[in-house]
């Protein structure tokens, strides 16, 4: 077995402590091999997306090195040197109008599910799917993680063929999936692994048989199922080959019973999900992560009483324009504080000479610029973390007018080591020359 010495080896003890399990229990992790193939750096992409736009004047910094941050970005001040803002307004900006729908009849809200695909809803895969597929080929089977905060909302992650990667919104279930589902004791290893492999062999065979008899449009649904089973098989076949090291520690499993639909629980719910994402990323159990924070058609029912915006609903505030800018800026700032929370969780975790955040890019997107207009030009874009030195940081850049959103997605793939010429449809090319360090 190849053993690659890496600076962030998992602490088996801390992992087990977090799980409340005995020393004999070992989650099946596998990453050394892939890290070896990526030059010793585990690069991660985490997307954080919500809707209804921002107050532009309070969001955009002037082009150039970041000085005093605009009000909405203030929570990111401790991480300012690791922030890349892509400026919109006036002279240029990222433009997503090409992908909202075939006839471009509607703007924001409809653009939400296209933000990571660069095409009309799900006709092509999103970038997290593309990146995870490449990692799977390289030997890391479960690199993709899709989480959300509100069940039933629109999602950003898609497979090809209009098949949605429905985000996991239940924190307790996510904990089980990440940290408890695939654990076995060494004594059980042989028999349980063999048993699971036997069962999954059977299931795979039945799924393939099934896929062959159902109609063309449904075959892709069964393919999604097959892929999910395949990931478990790959994880099992690589079982027990890695050693947990420092920094890998699951959060306590405290999410059981929290309401995932009540507007009032959003802060607690989001914190649970961010803690789980941070742990999964630090443990290198996920490298392509999407977080759908809030959409649901503009979130009519969402209110923010914990920051004293108890009425009206989020959607109404976004449509109130300048009359509600004060409220909207308070809300936008709260969302950015959640980005800062995740940045801090990763930015304080050493990985060799740098931190997990330095090997990560948190890509922050919104489905429109100013909510009042449903405007899909000049989209607000933030990247926190250079992605292993790919992106320039501590700076705000100004793209040319109507720079295609697709080119941004292509550059993000490049940052993650996926060399593609284009993402989505209509546009090729990238923004590397603008964004690269």
């Amino acid at each position: 077995m190849i053993s690659i010495p890496t600076p962030n080896r998992y602490s088996r003890r801390s992992l087990l402590k977090g799980l409340g399990l005995g020393m004999g229990v070992l989650p099946l992790l596998n990453s050394e091999r892939v890290r070896a193939q990526s030059g010793g750096v585990a690069k991660r992409l985490i997307t954080m997306v919500w809707g209804s736009g921002v107050v532009p004047a309070d969001f955009y910094a002037p082009a150039g090195p970041l000085g005093t941050l605009p009000p909405i970005l203030a929570p990111l001040d401790p991480w300012k040197s690791k922030v890349l803002q892509i400026r919109g307004r006036n002279l240029g900006g990222i433009d997503s109008k090409v992908m909202t729908d075939a006839g471009n009849r509607y703007g924001g809200h409809v653009s939400y599910p296209s933000l990571l695909t660069g095409t009309a809803t799900g006709t092509m895969p999103s970038i997290d799917t593309l990146i995870a597929a490449q990692l799977a080929t390289a030997g890391l089977p479960k690199a993709q993680l899709n989480v959300g905060c509100r069940p039933g909302s629109t999602a950003t992650s898609w497979r090809a063929g209009k098949v949605k990667n429905t985000p996991e919104t239940n924190p307790s279930r996510l904990f089980t999936t990440l940290f408890a589902g695939a654990s076995v004791t060494p004594q059980q290893t042989n028999t349980l692994l063999l048993r699971r492999m036997s069962v999954l062999d059977h299931v795979t065979s039945e799924l393939k048989n099934f896929q062959s008899v159902i109609g063309a449009e449904d075959k892709s649904k069964v393919q999604a199922h097959l892929d999910s089973v395949r990931q478990i098989e790959m994880q099992l076949s690589a079982g027990g080959t890695s050693t947990p090291g420092a920094g890998c520690s699951p959060p306590p499993n405290t999410g059981a019973g929290i309401s995932v639909t009540s507007p009032l629980t959003l802060p607690d719910h989001l914190k649970l999900m961010l803690d789980l994402v941070a742990a999964a990323v630090k443990c290198d159990m996920a490298r392509a992560v999407t977080i759908d924070i809030l959409d649901n058609g503009g979130a009519n029912n969402q209110t923010f009483p914990w920051i004293n915006v108890a009425t009206p609903g989020f959607h109404s505030i976004a449509h109130n324009g300048a009359a509600a800018f004060t409220q909207k800026t308070v809300i936008d700032t709260w969302f950015i504080s959640q980005v800062a929370y995740l940045a801090a969780a990763l930015g304080t975790n050493p990985e060799g000479a740098v931190t997990t955040l330095d090997n990560t890019s948190i890509l922050v997107l919104n489905d429109m610029s100013e909510g009042d207009f449903h405007d899909v030009q000049n989209l607000p874009v933030l990247i926190v973390g250079s992605g292993g030195g790919f992106f320039k940081t501590g700076v705000c850049v100004q793209p040319q007018a109507n720079a295609p959103h697709n080119q941004l997605l292509t550059s993000v793939c490049h940052a993650m080591g996926l060399q593609v010429a284009s993402v989505g449809d209509t546009y090729t090319g990238d923004l590397d020359s603008l964004l690269k360090a």
Partner: protein, 597 residues
């Protein structure tokens, strides 16, 4: 006084012409005004569930959608083809169906919905489709399905003797072979919900041999292994109980469902679970090709207690009752709401269960005043004499209340945080009871004036609707909402709004006739008597039954179901007619289907 036209125009008509990027308010408004001037408005009826956002499963590709108006509701193009049947999209068992099936198959009720894929996806984001459907297996779901199957199999092994009619474990040799065969021929067909093919049986026997040899399992544990595998297999997890005898159908042809396919379609529709012994027996005897036999089975099933599970599921989904407790309300204005939300939802469940267990009357549902309340809810309704926290039968004031649309639950769900919300209430009625479809809002929507500007909510909304941007939709939905101005944000009865008397009067055009009404009880009586509304209600049941939107191929079946409701007034007769309809007993095959091995 305001007027409302029923949804009739074609779907294509509502599509805004290719707009410039939404930057200039004036440009958008102009185009919308043009659309509005050429039509009743931007909001028109169409066959639901397809939209710019999400192409749903089951939408007929390429054929184009056209209106299905229900009886008397229009359509107006080609006559309904009595031999047509809709397509059947592949659906995963929902979490609810999975748990119900585990209960009936294994007598296991240890799992909860949290142990299963989050499953339910609210397709309300897609225009007018009210029901939740399970999504495809997402990346992380395989692990959950594995965990659930392992738990169920482990539990089953612990009480295997109650599931298998032979001594367990049997002695090695002939007894073991006999017992294994018994398991494969009597129990496994319940897991697959149909007889196994010889190939499927061979696969399981091969896995059994692996369990006994390679894995060194005893008999009971090897049976557990088979269960663990079967519960993760598509035969268990998907609604696709193919009749192994079927030939490969050509794409586009209408094929009759096999007996087991139909038995399962009936059982999951009417009970939310697997078929029982009697239904399996009817399928095994090949009797379910006969609509008369199907009807007998359906009447038996509707009389069973398990039917109330489906009734409640339908109405909970249809009215979004499970979100009531999470509906935000101003604590300053509605401090009492948290204590009322639970009883309000329970009231609807008792109300619906009571009707479906007695008359099945659509008119009772829409206009009935015999309801249920505990002390807090009775006080809310102005009914005296009820004490305690348990719901008790009450008679509501018929001058103030009539049926589900005037219930606290419906009005609180569709009300605003601190006041009424006529567009939201109107939209709920327009989409749920008239099957109208609303496009996404246009790209610039100025807000109506705040209460501080003076005037009632209705007066302020009417000013707002002079704006052509907002007016195209609001002029359609708000007359419906204005009828409910006698109710505040959580449905409390009122006669004054913002210091002025409320005006809840209007007119509505239904089935080609113009009707005046003075308030909500009068409007809902008009709705309850309308053929369009009955046609829409039948359409909702079809959507619920199939997990997809209606298509032109469903038209004749939908007409039959609507006709049953219109002639009897009994929702259960609608269900019976739907289950013996062409589109329920047949389906249109899609491309690249194969035959089961």
């Amino acid at each position: 006084m305001t007027q409302l036209a029923p949804p009739t125009a074609r779907a294509a008509d509502l599509q805004h012409p290719g707009l410039a990027p939404p930057r200039r308010r004036a440009g958008i408004c102009t185009v919308l005004a043009l659309v509005a001037s050429g039509l009743v408005g931007g909001c028109v009826g169409q066959v639901g569930k397809t939209g710019p956002d999400d192409q749903p499963p089951g939408a007929v590709g390429g054929g184009g959608n056209r209106p299905v108006g229900g009886a008397g509701g229009g359509g107006g193009s080609a006559p309904a083809d009595p031999l047509a049947a809709g397509v059947r999209p592949l659906l995963l068992l929902s979490a609810r169906e999975y748990l119900n099936t585990a209960r009936d198959l294994l007598r296991d009720t240890t799992l909860t919905e949290d142990a299963l894929p989050s499953g339910d996806e609210d397709l309300q984001a897609t225009p007018s489709f009210a029901f939740k459907e399970p999504h495809n297996v997402a990346t992380q779901d395989g692990t959950l399905l594995q965990g659930a199957a392992e738990t169920l199999a482990r539990n089953a092994v612990a009480h295997l003797a109650t599931l298998l009619p032979c001594a367990t474990p049997p002695a090695a040799g002939a007894a073991e072979t006999t017992c294994l065969n018994t398991f494969l021929t009597t129990f496994m067909p319940k897991v697959y919900r149909r007889p196994l093919t010889t190939t499927e049986t061979a696969h399981l026997m091969s896995l059994y041999a692996t369990g006994r040899s390679t894995l060194a399992l005893g008999f009971n544990d090897a049976i557990g292994l088979l269960l663990e595998a079967a519960l993760q297999s598509p035969q268990f997890l998907y609604h696709w109980e193919l009749d192994p005898a079927n030939a490969v159908p050509a794409a586009g042809t209408v094929v009759k469902l096999g007996n087991y396919e139909l038995a399962n379609r009936l059982s999951y529709f009417l009970w939310g679970t697997m078929p029982d012994t009697a239904l399996f027996a009817a399928a095994a005897a090949g009797q379910l090709g006969d609509p008369a036999v199907v009807e007998t089975q359906v009447r038996r099933m509707l009389a069973d207690a398990k039917a109330s599970d489906a009734y409640l599921n339908f109405f909970t989904d249809f009215l979004d009752l499970d979100t009531l407790a999470d509906t935000p309300k101003s604590s300053a204005v509605y401090a009492m709401f948290p204590a009322l939300a639970g009883p309000m939802a329970s009231e609807i469940k008792s109300f619906v269960t009571g009707i479906m267990g007695s008359t099945g009357g659509f008119a009772d549902l829409m206009t009935g005043t015999n309801s249920y309340a505990n002390q807090a809810l009775a006080s809310f309704y102005g009914v005296s004499g009820v004490t305690g926290t348990a719901l008790k039968p009450v008679m509501l004031n018929p001058a103030q209340r009539a049926g589900i649309l005037t219930s606290g639950a419906f009005l609180a769900l569709s009300g605003d945080t601190d006041e009424s919300n006529p567009p939201r209430r109107g939209k709920a009625i327009y989409t749920k009871f008239l099957c109208g479809v609303m496009p996404p809002p246009p790209n610039n929507v100025p807000k109506p004036a705040d209460a501080s500007a003076g005037g009632t909510m209705r007066q302020r909304m009417e000013v707002h609707d002079q704006n052509p941007c907002a007016g195209s939709c609001h002029r359609i939905i708000e007359p419906l909402g204005f009828a409910f101005e006698e109710y505040g944000g959580i449905g409390e009865f009122r006669t004054v709004d913002n210091n002025a008397p409320v005006d809840s009067s209007g007119t509505i055009v239904l089935d080609g006739q113009t009707h005046p009404y003075s308030n909500a009880p009068e409007l809902v009586k008009l709705l309850a008597a309308s053929d369009s509304v009955k046609g829409c209600f039948a359409t909702q049941w079809l959507r619920y039954a199939f997990g997809r939107a209606e298509t032109p191929a469903d038209q004749a079946s939908l007409n039959a179901a609507t006709g049953a409701l219109t002639s009897t007034g009994d929702i259960r007769e609608l269900i019976v007619a739907l289950t013996r309809s062409r589109t329920f007993m047949y389906r249109t095959a899609t491309a690249m289907e194969g035959v089961l091995k």
